[in-house]
Symmetry: C2
Subunit: 559 residues, 2 copies
């Protein structure tokens, strides 16, 4: 637990940490010298074709969380700290994380490199352009848009209906003014006018493809299957029809190599890919997870938002498409977030209130049931914040003991890997015990069965309603045989329902599916529920306003 | 000269070339190990604060050209080949080039890494994302746009007139549909609707600033001076008013370090920055040129388009702001391009026609006069193409001899540095002789005097006409005292006039200035003449359609 009066910022802690040259980290991870392509002194890309074959694949530990609240749950911090804890316990460990998006970095939330003494390094570079992967994805996405508009302009041989182009442009930016735009203005030399919009790069289908592709060939094949819109006769138009898959693959070739960095504790970390967990599946790249499994005995990874979104998609989409199984699952909970689920206001979170904690426990219990529904017995990591009281922490630990759930405090923000050892020991026990992992639905289930499985077994709801629009789209999807794909739910992360205002563990609700979006390249059908934000806006005082360089060229104001 | 029946492509030649590890190239260049930040095996960024101080700065050789034609003049190829020639002659040499833009790479023109046996390597990576500098510039530019639109949305404290925002968004893409757009649509959550447009990244003022800044501090100071538009009371609004210069500088910090690569001949090459030569000044970064001067005895560099644009701006803008002087200038000419200036059709360029070559010589002679106007005696590099006949080459060489101009054939495409030795020897002679370099105008000349100097002494025209709009803008510029800045002419590259159809050496014409754009960050006033393209479009068959990866993951279809 942190005790200093004026705490260091994450950026200061990161800068004070002694980093090892990336060659040493690679050596520690068992990556041969000729497989490492250094990017600066402390980052590298891995040529996976040059990796040695290990006899037994490493075990995958998924870190997920209760429903997120504005209080913050610190899932990335726990993921990093837990990996360092395994390393301290003598396990050959790697951590596999998502790449931060510049949108939130410049906006409000800050980066995604962990916090306190559980961070990945070099924090400044990871949170800024890193090795350029997101820029490559932005470029590939927008090259496709340019080729589509050029196709319209040059005679439109394919007969693409400019009113039915579903492919949008992207920027790695929080920029609400780009949500809805008109392009092609200014007369004939400006192309064909039409409505368009920009998503944030992490919401691009190319990001989802990047994170689910098994190889460069699979990447190309998936890119070619992207549906960019429909013809005047309502037939889908794909990237293959445009002949653009070769160029897009070439633009992504180097980015597709996993990135190696290190944690503050010196554990090798792969940070690669980062799709939104609302519109997409919210996990780092499959290629990085598989690479980590080949190199390490324990692979700690996380999935976006709460277990209802990230973990569900990790198991039903990523593990299915990647043909692997998670060996353990950790649910991160905090006293602060449980208080909010128990009705406390954000302003009151530092006031001790064990009754509010107790009232919030049903949210945790719902996510425990979810992980159990997949045949895995979870471990609870109670992520300690400085203002937590022992009484409040005990409320959670006692409840877990009474309900026969393994739980321990994680004090990784203040103590790094040392503070995660209790949780790590519990996880090692679960790995030894094994589990009965299974997906919640079969690919041959009907589409409605798939969605219903998720709503009932994960959200704890009573079923699903399709709007007329969604039903019509479903008929089209079934007609084309696309309903064999898994479901990617696009739902608010703040609630188990489709209404972000309903916290805790609601019951007796139905989920309304408003729209279905086939993502044939990613290999899933997106189910839109509620209002899903695919291009965030900047707040009144963007984080960018505090950013600067100091006299030595170091970053100032990164979070 | 090339003689094989089925010539290798530039991409095949590049792939077959044996590259040295970037550490060896750095050592050869005199860059200490701790100043090199490797990016992959064959690219690196240089921390210039760790470079040794050399007693005498290197000599700068500027490579420029006659007015470009669709025949191609091969200026980058000659620049690279000439650098390898100096290396072969025992000179400690570096070449300083611009970074290619992905727009032309995906579009029509291909990359900008030279050609044949005079290329910079690794060609594939240089032509694709390289070290991400252009992506960083794109991001900084669009972060500023997002902050502007966010300012409007959050109450518009500065009173920015959304009809008078001059700052545009950018993408590193050829995408005509983005030239004119409307943003901020979709109701209150989408911000304030307004007209906007996208330029290609290389046309961004941030690219120009990046290429003229002397240090990271100067970069920040220049960024803060950018005028993004005007208030409702017609006062300029700057980046400093928005408080965004710190964030923009941080986004550019790593990109600002010069990139080190190598030529096929093993000469160290700095490739850094690449502003458009029409809307901006068309030279690689000042920081790279200065770094090369510190490291090498001979620095070969180029400026975009013909001597009327690139060389004029190199001397009047870059050399002025960078406080250095060019020591020699090479004008690249080709038989093919001279034929086009002499009236030959593009389809007939492979047919021997020495009369057409002769009729095209006045264009060369105009550019010779231009270089002489700056007090430098140029060397002509006659860049050999396979179809050129000896008679045609002799027309040019004989004319040069008669007019006392130093000239030699450069056969660098086929022979690499060896083919450039004759030109290199002539250049060494000029460097030994010294020159009387001076700028064409003084900063205290009136704005009209500055433009007139360029029109008369560089274009060979009779003077300048300002439209009423431009005159009104000029009054405003003079009122604010901005007319102390140098002029950046935005003119078609195909003609010495403002009409792209008039080739050769026209006389008795005037240049019409339609619009003035103050670029206070870059430190020049853009003079728009004719229609200047700041966002290119894709052709009917974009180069992207031929791009792919082969079974080994190598690039296919890059030019």
């Amino acid at each position: 637990m942190k005790t200093t009066e004026t705490p260091l910022t994450d950026l200061e802690i990161a800068r004070n940490a002694a980093m090892k040259p990336i060659g040493e980290i690679a050596e520690k991870a068992g990556i041969p010298e000729d497989a490492l392509e250094p990017y600066g002194r402390y980052k590298g890309k891995i040529d996976i074709s040059r990796l040695p074959q290990k006899e037994e694949d490493g075990k995958v530990v998924l870190v997920t969380a209760i429903s997120p609240t504005p209080a913050g749950e610190g899932k990335s911090t726990v993921t990093v700290g837990l990996a360092d804890a395994f390393s301290r316990l003598g396990e050959k460990t790697m951590v596999a994380l998502r790449e931060p998006s510049l949108g939130p970095v410049m906006g409000l939330k800050g980066g995604a490199a962990g916090g306190g003494y559980s961070q990945v390094l070099p924090m400044e570079e990871i949170n800024l352009h890193f090795t350029g992967d997101l820029h490559a994805i932005t470029t590939a996405n927008n090259a496709l848009s340019a080729l589509i508009d050029n196709h319209l302009h040059q005679g439109n041989l394919l007969g693409i209906d400019q009113r039915r182009i579903t492919w949008k442009r992207v920027l790695d930016m929080n920029d609400r003014a780009l949500r809805r735009v008109t392009v092609g203005l200014g007369g004939p030399s400006g192309g064909i006018p039409r409505e368009d919009g920009f998503d944030i790069t992490v919401a691009s289908e190319i990001m989802a493809i990047f994170c689910l592709a098994k190889s460069l060939d699979d990447l190309k094949e998936r890119l070619s299957r992207i549906v960019i819109g429909y013809t005047f006769t309502r037939e889908p138009v794909t990237v293959r029809d445009l002949g653009a898959e070769g160029a897009l693959t070439l633009l992504l070739r180097d980015a597709f190599k996993p990135n190696l960095v290190q944690t503050i504790g010196g554990t090798p970390a792969l940070i690669h890919g980062g799709p939104f967990a609302n519109i997409a599946h919210g996990c780092n790249s499959l290629i990085a997870t598989k690479t980590a499994k080949k190199l390490a005995d324990i692979v700690v990874t996380e999935a976006g938002f709460g277990a209802d979104l990230g973990a569900e998609k990790f198991m039903n989409i990523k593990a299915r498409q990647g043909d692997f199984r998670p060996d353990a699952a950790v649910i991160v909970a905090t006293v602060r977030a449980l208080k909010m689920h128990g009705g406390a206001a954000k302003a009151d979170l530092s006031t001790p209130d064990k009754e509010a904690v107790e009232r919030g426990l049903p949210n945790l219990s719902r996510h425990i049931d979810t992980i159990r529904a997949f045949g895995i017995e979870p471990v609870i990591a109670l992520n300690r914040f400085t203002a937590d009281t022992q009484e409040e922490l005990s409320v959670v630990l006692d409840w877990c003991r009474e309900n026969e759930v393994s739980a321990a405090v994680a004090d990784v923000w203040a103590e790094g890997g040392k503070g995660g050892e209790d949780v790590a020991r519990l996880v090692l026990g679960k790995i030894r015990e094994g589990n009965a992992f299974h997906q919640l639905y079969d690919e041959f289930d009907t589409f409605e069965q798939k969605v219903n499985s998720i709503v009932r077994k994960v959200y704890g709801g009573d079923g699903v309603l399709f709007t007329d629009k969604a039903l019509k789209q479903l008929q089209d999807i079934e007609k084309r045989g696309w309903d064999i794909l898994p479901v990617c739910m696009a739902k608010t992360q703040y609630s188990l329902t489709d209404d972000p205002g309903i916290l805790g563990r609601p019951e007796g609700f139905k989920i309304t599916v408003r729209e279905l979006i086939p993502k044939l390249g990613a290999g899933f059908i997106v189910c839109l529920t509620g209002d899903i934000m695919t291009m965030p806006g900047l707040p009144k005082k963007p984080a960018a306003m505090n950013m600067d360089i100091d006299r030595d060229g170091h970053a100032v104001g990164l979070m």
